[in-house]
């Protein structure tokens, strides 16, 4: 295997990067998990290399083998059940089969890793500083005091304010973004040559994600780090990756320079992934392009293209042999598709199609189904047995909204902004502290009963939102029984009908939830919500736990069902691009309040509130060479809703806040143009 020439990263000259030997070389890596029931082939023949100070993105859906490949580099896979073969060389030394004692010298010193969930990846009982200093104590044998001193320096370097005080905090005292910064500080402690980042921003808000991406980019230039960035999101890595490999079913399907892979895609799967990302820079008149089916789970040795059953190019020959990567373009661009030369443009391969009866947002306003006025939901802070009367978590603090029949209201905001609580209040799962919610003019009632049928909810995690001991048919039929909408005979018919409507086989009702994939389970949740024939469906982050290729399916399904039934929807999400795709009107929430509310196109084309602007700018664009330098980044995290800042709640993070005004006077939510509400001192109020 010839050594690939590393290319200096864009924008950051990397002296001496070219011509150096590869830092990491993986050849024909195979990983299988020998479980009692079956053998899962997580990685089936992966070869790749990473040059010094290069950023290499490993992209794939869940189960594609991307994390498993990199965990085997670290020797961190549990064995048994994992069986690893092939070759992994770090600076020319074979690490596979290396005794643990020697392998441990590499870990943390030459190769460091950052994980997805910063909270669970930090030991809860040790101080942050001690955990950062630990690698130094292990590899350099420095004294406790020296390790602490360096931990302060590192925390300061990754942007933790007052690092010399925060060094003695415990992980639970840090916010999500700070925890991930601490993890990065920990990884950098021994000045490693390679940093493996396993979905480091997936659990974070989009604004914090942008901060972390910037931080890693900066540190990479400073420490001359090579980075392997594992992600499911082609958008996140477009700005930073030098080279990309797309994995599926334990194989690399396409790899190459980022610019070639994004612009001259040579594998139908890559193009499908790129097409199914809802984007802010495209119009929303059509359905999202979707990849049918769900990612496969490989249990027997691959003998054919694993993507065959989901591929629009599938033809004779695809099932005959396992396609190997072959060169399709310059600088190592290669694809494992025998039909790669037949690939047309992405839009012809993955058509978006038009949704039947999808209505435009410019139509006459329909009648209001849900009317929320000055809604407040405060959660008392409980200390011992007493509630503190003064302090409370103000999750929702004075929200007024209308949900219109046949339309979708999108609610966006960072975690902790109160959007989930607002949704739960609408289905009477939490009791409001003040204000009113009326459905069809009737105030909602917190007692159980038939009146509940008009409003149904779809939850974020279809795995935990469904009783695992109930058959799917019972899960779906439960609302029918509760609301006495069908007797036993017709219930069965209705369940098959609902299953067909959500795109599942009508006879799948006899199975249990765990037999379905995530996307299928979310379809079941949709069927359950529809069973009661509701007038409003509240969707709380319905696609954020799903694979990228499956997200588009569920979004399209919801849009189709709305067109068919005329139900109103409330779509709660942190992802502005997704919200844009499904909503007619969008409300932006910050610390329990609506800061901007407008018809979709107005909001996205001309955001007025600085917070809306910042949120939009933080959305990653799946374009390499996108100039991110003009962006304003939000600094810091959302303040505690127990103690919101005085004046405008956003002023502490606002790039344009006016001292003395924004910090003292609370702006009112005012209608600046018809249908468009903003609460900001700097947005001019309506003339006259």
């Amino acid at each position: 295997m010839t050594t690939r020439t590393a290319v200096a990263g864009r924008g950051y000259p990397r002296e001496g990067a070219s011509g150096e030997p590869n830092l990491l070389e993986i050849e024909n890596l195979m990983v299988r998990f020998e479980l009692p029931a079956e053998t899962v082939r997580a990685v089936s023949g992966v070869s790749l290399s990473v040059a010094p100070s290069e950023t290499f993105a490993l992209v794939g859906e869940s189960g594609s083998g991307k994390s498993v490949s990199m965990l085997s580099v670290m020797g961190l896979l549990p064995s048994p059940p994992a069986v690893v073969s092939g070759s992994i060389r770090l600076e020319g030394r074979e690490v596979l089969g290396m005794p643990g004692r020697l392998l441990r010298r590499f870990r943390g010193r030459d190769v460091a890793m950052v994980f997805q969930e910063p909270m669970s990846s930090l030991n809860p009982v040790h101080r942050v500083g001690r955990q950062i200093g630990e690698s130094l104590r292990i590899h350099r044998g420095v004294a406790r005091s020296e390790a602490r001193r360096q931990a302060i320096h590192l925390l300061d370097r990754v942007g933790i304010p007052s690092a010399s005080i925060r060094v003695d905090d415990y992980p639970h005292e840090f916010s999500g973004g700070m925890r991930q910064r601490a993890m990065i500080a920990m990884a950098l402690a021994c000045d490693p040559k390679l940093l493996i980042a396993d979905e480091p921003t997936t659990a974070l808000d989009v604004t914090v994600q942008a901060q972390i991406v910037d931080l890693v980019r900066e540190l990479q230039a400073e420490y001359r780090l090579a980075v392997v960035w594992i992600t499911h999101d082609l958008g996140v890595v477009a700005e930073i990756a030098d080279r990309v490999a797309v994995m599926y079913a334990g194989r690399i399907l396409e790899t190459g320079q980022a610019s070639d892979l994004y612009r001259a895609t040579r594998h139908p799967y890559t193009s499908g992934l790129l097409r199914s990302i809802p984007r802010l820079d495209r119009s929303v008149t059509t359905r999202l392009a979707e990849i049918p089916g769900a990612p496969v789970r490989v249990v027997s040795e691959l003998a054919a293209c694993p993507f065959d059953d989901r591929c629009p190019l599938a033809a004779d020959g695809c099932q005959d042999a396992l396609p190997e990567l072959e060169a399709v373009g310059p600088e190592g661009h290669s694809s494992a598709c025998i039909h790669h030369h037949e690939m047309g443009s992405a839009s012809s391969l993955w058509p978006e199609g038009t949704a039947a009866g999808r209505q435009d947002s410019e139509e006459q306003p329909g009648d209001v189904v849900v009317s929320i006025r000055d809604l407040r939901v405060h959660f008392p802070i409980i200390r011992g047995m007493r509630e503190s009367r003064k302090r409370a978590i103000r999750a929702v603090d004075g929200v007024s909204l209308d949900v219109v029949r046949g339309k979708t209201l999108g609610i966006v905001g960072e975690s902790g902004c109160g959007k989930t609580t607002l949704g739960r209040a609408m289905v009477a799962l939490v009791r409001p502290t003040g204000g009113t919610i009326e459905i069809n003019g009737e105030p909602i009632n917190h007692r159980s009963g038939r009146h509940r049928k008009v409003v149904q909810m779809i939850f974020q995690d279809p795995f935990s939102a469904m009783n695992p001991g109930m058959r799917v048919s019972d899960v779906i039929a439960e609302p029918l029984r509760i609301h006495r909408l069908a007797d036993a005979g017709t219930a069965r018919e209705r369940v098959s009908e609902l299953l067909t409507q959500v795109g599942l086989p009508p006879d799948s009702g006899g199975r249990y939830p765990h037999e379905f994939s995530g996307g299928q389970r979310q379809r079941i949740a949709v069927a359950r919500a529809l069973a009661a024939d509701p007038e409003v469906v509240v969707c709380d982050e319905p696609v954020s736990s799903l694979d990228v290729s499956v997200q588009a399916q569920v979004i399209n399904l919801l849009a189709d069902l709305q067109a068919r039934t005329g139900m109103a929807m409330v779509f709660i999400a942190h992802d502005l691009a997704v919200v844009r795709h499904v909503s007619h009107e969008v409300g932006v929430m910050y610390l329990g309040e609506i800061v901007e509310k407008a018809p979709r196109d107005q909001l996205y084309e001309d955001p007025l509130h600085p917070y809306t602007k910042a949120l939009l700018e933080a959305v990653p664009v799946p374009e390499p060479d996108y100039d991110a330098s003009q962006r304003t980044r939000l600094v810091g995290d959302v303040p505690s809703p127990a103690d919101p800042p005085a004046g405008c709640r956003f002023h502490t993070r606002c790039p344009v806040a006016v001292e003395g005004l924004c910090s003292t006077v609370k702006p009112a939510l005012e209608e600046v143009t018809p249908g468009r509400w903003v609460s900001c001192h700097l947005v001019s109020p309506p003339a006259g």
């Binding site: 670290m74 961190l76 048994p80 643990g100 004692r101 441990r104 010298r105 590499f106 870990r107 943390g108 010193r109 460091a112 890793m113 994980f115 969930e117 669970s120 990846s121 930090l122 030991n123 809860p124 009982v125 040790h126 955990q131 630990e134 690698s135 292990i138 590899h139 415990y170 639970h172 993890m183 920990m186 200390r383 011992g384 047995m385 007493r386």
Partner: protein, 315 residues
Amino acid sequence: MAQYGVVVVVAVTLNFLLPRLMPGNPLALIAGVDVGMLTPDQRAEIVARVGLDAPLWQQYLRYWGDIFTGDFGFSFRSSRPIVDMIWERLPWTLLITGLSLLVSAVVGVLLGAISAWRRGTKGDLGMLSGMISIESLPSFWLGMVLVSLFAVQWGLLPSFGAVTPASDLEGWAHVWDIISHAILPVTALSIVGTPGVYMTMRYSMLETLGEDYIRTARAKGAGERRVLFGHVARNTIAPVITVLAIRLGFAFGGTVIIETVFSYPGLGRLVFEAVAGRDYPVMQAAFLVFTAAILVANLAADLLYPLIDPRSRTS
């Protein structure tokens, strides 16, 4: 903290009300005499002596006063002050329950840790099935087997009591006498108590070993010793400490079965005797002591937990 106060008040109030709510004359329960055999004068005299002529709220207040001054009344059977009886029995109970708790804790924690560290191996599964078998042994049967083997068959150890009666031993001979009497009950209690600790420890450690931060520690290059003592130990031990503290609370109550099998003069045996002789005041006093001990142990666990797990510290 406030919860503990509520539990104490409820327990004491219940204890006060029970004899007064039970069918029949409360005099029979409180004074322990056959009411039908008394003349009216005698009856009035007893009523006045135990204070049953006062209004209920006065009786209630006096009950609280009695508890604070350590006056639990007198035993029906021996007519001795109950406080003295409890003080007499408590050290013996604490000796055998305390020692056996220590043994079960050390053995259970060690074996549980080894088992979890070698999860899925033959050693782990063997140990697990062994512990499940021991758990299913009835303690009275175990006690009787120990007595028949070590005391009757081989004559190595005494079969009953806490000291040899009327032996007037002194110094080391006296200490050895106490130890030799305690060995069998402590052994029986330790065997019965170990599986619970083992299971808690094994489960807790398996849980910890599966945590992401253990993977982080390994990713830093930490060796097995550092992973085990630096990262696993403290996270694992927190739930185990809670279980042990609660067991310590129950230890004050002694164990009715083992103390009866070995005729050991602890609180458990006192309760057994009181039940057999319908000695209600003794039962009530014992009930209060048990409640108090369990509450104190729970409180200790609550206070100890934040020292181990910083997340449970309130700001």
